[in-house]
C-alpha cells in the first residue's frame, strides 16, 4: 500500500523540513499484504489477503454482469445485452475464429471467461480504493497459465496422438536432417517448458511494472512537495505523470488480457493442428 510505504519511511511530513528524509522509492514490498482472515481448514491455514478478495470480487463482477446482460436474451438486443454481445462477438470473431478457424467455436466459452476475468482482475489496479491488480502477484498468473497448459497439452496428445504431437512440438518441418540435433532440444524447451513460464511472466510483469510505476509517481507527488518553486513544480509534474500513467495502464490492462487470451488460443491451435 502506498500509505504504508509513506508511513514506513519515517513519518508523513519529514520532507517538508529542511533536512528532508530522502525519497523512499517503492519496491516489491508494496505487493505484500497482511492477511485479513486466516481460517484453518484440514490443518492448513489459509491467509486471505487483499488480492484473494479482489479475485473473488472480479469473479462476482464478471459472472454478475453477464448473467444480468443475458438474463432475458432478446432477438434485438438492448442495453446491457448489447454490451455483453459486443464482448462475446469480440472474443469469438477476433480471437477464437481468427486463430482456430471453425474449431474455435468450441473454445469460445473458455477464452471468453479468461479474457473478461483477466481484464477485470487487471482493471482493479486503477479502480480507486481497490488499486491492486491481483495479477501482479506471481502465483495468480501462474495458476492461469497452468490451467491453460493443462488444457492444451493433453488436448494435443488426444487429438494428434503422443508421437505426432511431440513431433509437431519439437521437429519443425522443412529443415535439413542434421539440424535436428540442435533443433529438437531447443524446440522442446521453448515449446513445452518455457512457454507456460513466459505466458505467466508476461501478464505478471506488465501488471507488476505498471503498478510500481503508478506507485512511484504517486509517492513522488507527495515527497517532492515542499514550500519552494522547484518542489511545487516537481510535485505537480509527478501528479500529472501519475494520472497519465493511469490512463496508459487502462490500455495495457486490456491489451494484456487480450494477449493472454490470444496466446491461449494460439497454444490450443498448436495442439489441434500440427504445424505445416
Amino acid at each position: 500500500m502506498i500509505t504504508e510505504t509513506v508511513l514506513a519511511s519515517g513519518g508523513l511530513d519529514c520532507h517538508l523540513v529542511p533536512e528532508g528524509c530522502g525519497f523512499p522509492a517503492p519496491g516489491a514490498e508494496i505487493f505484500v499484504f497482511d492477511p485479513v482472515w486466516s481460517p484453518t481448514l484440514f490443518g492448513l491455514t489459509f491467509n486471505i489477503t487483499k488480492p484473494a478478495i479482489l479475485l473473488l470480487l472480479a469473479a462476482v463482477v464478471v459472472a454478475g454482469f453477464f448473467m444480468y446482460a443475458f438474463r432475458r436474451p432478446a432477438l434485438v438486443p438492448r442495453g446491457a445485452q448489447n454490451v455483453g454481445e459486443l464482448g462475446y462477438v469480440f472474443v469469438r470473431d477476433g480471437i477464437a475464429r481468427d486463430t482456430l478457424g471453425k474449431d474455435g467455436d468450441a473454445f469460445v466459452p473458455f477464452l471468453f471467461t479468461f479474457f473478461f476475468f483477466v481484464w477485470i482482475v487487471n482493471f482493479f489496479g486503477i479502480v480507486p480504493f481497490l488499486q491492486m491488480p491481483a495479477t501482479s502477484r506471481f502465483a495468480i498468473p501462474v495458476a492461469f497459465a497452468a490451467i491453460v497448459y493443462l488444457l492444451w497439452v493433453p488436448l494435443g496428445i488426444r487429438r494428434q496422438g503422443f508421437g505426432p504431437f511431440m513431433r509437431s512440438m519439437t521437429m519443425p518441418p522443412d529443415v535439413p536432417k542434421a539440424m535436428y540435433v540442435l533443433l529438437i532440444p531447443i524446440e522442446f524447451v521453448s515449446n513445452l517448458v518455457v512457454r507456460p513460464f513466459t505466458h505467466a511472466v508476461r501478464l505478471f510483469a506488465n501488471m507488476f511494472a505498471g503498478h510500481l510505476l503508478i506507485a512511484t509517481f504517486s509517492i513522488a507527488t507527495w515527497y517532492l512537495l515542499s514550500p519552494s518553486i522547484i518542489g511545487i513544480i516537481g510535485s505537480a509534474a509527478s501528479f500529472v505523470v501519475s494520472i497519465a500513467l493511469t490512463a496508459f495502464e487502462l490500455l495495457i490492462q486490456a491489451l494484456q488480457a487480450y494477449v493472454f487470451t490470444l496466446l491461449t488460443a494460439v497454444y490450443i491451435g498448436s495442439a489441434l493442428h500440427a504445424e505445416h
Partner: protein, 75 residues
C-alpha cells in the same frame, strides 16, 4: 581473489537496460513492418493487427523477464 573491475549500486537496473535492447529493436521492427503492411493492404487490417500484437507480446517477454529477475533474485 583480486578484482579487476567492479560494478556497484543498482546492478539490476543495468541488467534491465541490457535486456531491453533486443526487445526494443524487435518491437520497433514488428510495429514498423506492421504499419507498412497495413498501409499496403488496409483490407487485411484485422489479421495484420492480430499478428502484430502476437509478435509484440513474444518479443516483449524478454524485456519483462529482465525487469522482474532483479526483484526475484534480490539486489
Amino acid at each position: 581473489m583480486s578484482l579487476l573491475a567492479e560494478v556497484t549500486g543498482s546492478i539490476g537496473s543495468i541488467g534491465y537496460g541490457l535486456s531491453a535492447i533486443g526487445p526494443g529493436i524487435g518491437i520497433g521492427i514488428i510495429f514498423g513492418q506492421g504499419v507498412q503492411a497495413i498501409a499496403r493492404q488496409p483490407e487485411a487490417y484485422g489479421v495484420i493487427r492480430q499478428n502484430m500484437i502476437l509478435g509484440f507480446a513474444l518479443a516483449e517477454a524478454l524485456a519483462l523477464i529482465g525487469f522482474v529477475v532483479p526483484f526475484v533474485f534480490g539486489v
